[in-house]
Symmetry: C2
Subunit: 462 residues, 2 copies
């Protein structure tokens, strides 16, 4: 038995205990965007510090103006081994609408699906508690067999990833020397499919804006004032409806500045993945791509920018009917960015557009919710190729390099502020319902995810 | 001292007790649209029956499939006197947003405004509890002085006016013989201004619709699916934004069928009232008319049809940000009708328009919330002229005949089902904030309203 094989076997034997520990972490209600859960966020950070300390890390909770960071260090078995920084986040999305959950979001359980697949249910199981624990449990197996780790490991767990990471940049700046490593490993992404591991090389950026349109100085009776008084919901719907033209393109001035066409050979590689509008959208009960016309669904979600309304509200929304003209109407809008799109310019263009649509006797307020540019990682590097090979040893099919629709702002910061190349490997699946009711993480993802990190650490140290 | 003068004096002396009784009624939280307040609605009905019984009426609570009616009868002092049916409603609008109320909505109080004007604060003080109590207290003064009433009086109080009056028509049909009178008196309207009483002759109709647009079968992560998956908020905002063209006209097919231009002499009479966009909208913090271009504000609210979005919601609306693509988005939409516009045709045209805008892989549900045609009462009749003269005796300025923006469906039913002409007299003011936080009723409206009904009953019996 080779040394790696013993460590993998130990990870298999540890699985029941690994699950118990993950369940403990999922039970902590660390919703970062809602101030009511502040203490729970701290509790999650403290739980992780205790866990890492018990594994021999030098770990601590680090205060920020928002939710705390967790930082931990562990030396390598041999001098000259590479130094990796592993990043994950312990915070989770809100759980509403609660009535759509089949089981309570913070009471994790194992559920057997049709066909015998087992999944771990609960908020944060896939995004990102289950994923970050794959790395922690990989370290555990290593330590238990070898008493050491093959690489020098620094761990950074954040508690604000789901709320725009306001404290992250200042924290990286203030602790650059401590956090700088040779590579960053990030586990917050998905596989291509159940059998095919994936390394993500393109990440869309994000700009979030909340707008509040105000008209009359009070709610009005629509009989008494309707037809004469401005209705802020009408103003808002016209603004939002005007964000896209008939071909699905975003209409903001200069929105496509910095957006380049995806290289033909990359589009061709994506074609071979066999994903169609029917297969991609069929999983969520849809069939017709809704964005820019004439592009494949993979190109739309991996390589094209978007404008999406994430929330809207105004007027009477309770049971029954109320013939009111509201004083205010609000929306939360986000933009996914690609290439060299500038978040600040996009925000300014959006605000200028909205302001131009507000009648002279009405007003609008803007609230900023985070902003980050897109990231493009190399399609070919030693780090990438080492990981590709290690992953291909673990899973039924070889690893693929893909784009990614979501945003992980820290990858850009690692690049710019700490000069580190990041490796984005994750074991989520597209039907994990992250950010939705009934979030789950495949038991296979958790188990083989742990084994994958063992293989990657091993290969990096070789 | 003439007999009428003694009765008016008694009404003045009664005022403190009249206010106590109104306060008791306002304290009952009779929100008809919210099922949670069902018992409170019944309590209001029972309170009114007790009150009317104590005044010598034969009064009873009458069950319906919804909230109960109150019906009461009292004979006239002399045979041959006219028989009037007085209508009001004891139900009130919801009170949200509660945080915008200066005093609790169901704890009425008297407040002195700048300039020494006194107002009665609380939900329902103006719409319609304060108004209906003007008539009850007029009857009290009459009975206390004369031991009798000058006209035969039937009273009908409804408890579903704020939720589309679903039980009203069946109740009128089933009890037509009992409710038929010579005239209907309705007290649910406003004065022209603080000094000028008004009789309303035109009433807009109402069609209410709730729509729910559904796209994916779950909430989605906007990073993973944004740009490819349909966003129901986008679909909804495009639908709602398309309801009006650039000139403010409603775009539905056939929407203006049955809408006639207001006669020139009536528009001219309205011109003399001296109301401008600045004065009318200035009161609510606005200045620019928002509806059809090229029409006066009074024409817009009294004589033109409208489409208004009364509520909209979808996606994440809590604190912070959630990059979600919602599975559903909803809106409540109402149409104010004039002339011979057909509520059923308008509803059908709206549904056809909405359905035509739903992508093939998405769906929409409709929920009906009431529908009633517009009403036009005579601008010249014996009932109208008698009331005009009685009101002009009570108030500083002579009474005017005006249009009205809101809907009082029962007036059409009185006309069609019971063959009765209605007289619409009310003492509200345009700044009463009905349907809004901080609803109030002027103490002067309550006091002189009571005196006005004494004069009108007297004049009708003369």
């Amino acid at each position: 038995m080779t040394e790696t094989a013993s460590i993998l076997t130990r990870a298999d034997e540890n699985l029941p205990g690994s699950l118990d520990r993950l369940f403990d972490l999922v039970r902590i209600q660390s919703i970062s965007t809602d101030p009511a859960y502040k203490a729970e966020c701290r509790k999650a950070a403290e739980w992780l510090v205790a866990e890492l300390t018990s594994l021999g890390f030098e770990a601590s909770v680090r205060d920020t103006p928002g939710h705390p960071m967790v930082v931990a260090h562990h030396a390598a078995a041999k001098a000259g081994a590479p130094h990796v920084l592993f990043y994950g986040h312990y915070d989770v999305q809100p759980v509403d609408p609660l009535n759509l959950w089949d089981t309570a979001p913070f009471e994790p359980s194992i559920k057997e699906l049709d066909g015998g697949r087992k999944v771990i249910t609960g908020r944060g199981t896939a995004d990102d508690k289950g994923q970050l624990m794959t790395f922690v449990e990989a370290c555990r197996a290593y330590k238990e067999i070898n008493g050491a780790l093959p690489c020098e490991v620094t761990i950074l767990f954040e508690g604000e990833e789901e709320s725009g990471s306001p404290s992250l940049k200042p924290f990286l700046e203030a602790n650059a020397a401590e956090l700088k490593a040779d590579y960053a490993l990030v586990c917050d992404t998905s596989m291509w499919d159940r059998d095919t591991p994936a390394i993500s090389a393109g990440l869309r950026g994000l700009v979030g804006e909340e707008i509040v349109v105000s008209a009359a100085d009070r709610d009005l009776h629509s009989g008494m004032f309707g037809g004469a008084a401005a209705n802020p919901i009408h103003i808002l719907t016209k603004i939002l409806a005007g964000l896209h033209d008939e071909t699905g393109r975003v209409t903001l001035d200069g929105f496509y500045d910095g957006v380049e066409e995806t290289p033909t050979q990359i589009k061709a590689a994506w074609e071979t993945l066999g994903q169609t509008a029917e297969t991609f959208l069929g999983e969520i009960g849809l069939s017709i791509p809704s964005g820019e016309k004439g592009r494949s669904v993979l190109e739309l979600v991996w390589a094209r920018p978007t404008a999406e309304v994430n929330g809207i509200w105004g007027g009477y929304t309770g049971e029954g009917f109320k013939t009111v003209i509201a004083a205010q109407a609000s929306a939360k809008v986000s933009f996914r960015l690609v290439g060299a799109q500038d978040p600040d310019k996009i925000r300014a263009a959006f605000r200028a557009y909205v302001t131009s649509k507000i009648p002279a006797d009405c007003s609008v307020e803007f609230h900023k919710h985070g902003g980050s540019p897109a990231i493009q990682l190399p399609y070919d590097s030693s780090l990438l190729n080492t990981a590709k090979s290690a992953l291909s040893d673990e899973w039924p099919k070889p690893a693929v390099v893909i784009g990614m629709g979501g945003s992980i702002p820290i990858v850009g910061d690692f690049q710019k502020m700490l000069g580190m190349e990041s490796l984005l490997v994750g074991f989520g699946l597209s039907d994990d319902r992250i950010h939705s009711p009934n979030e789950k993480y495949e038991l296979q993802s958790f188990h083989k995810g742990i084994r994958s990190w063992i293989r990657i650490l091993d290969a990096l140290a070789a």
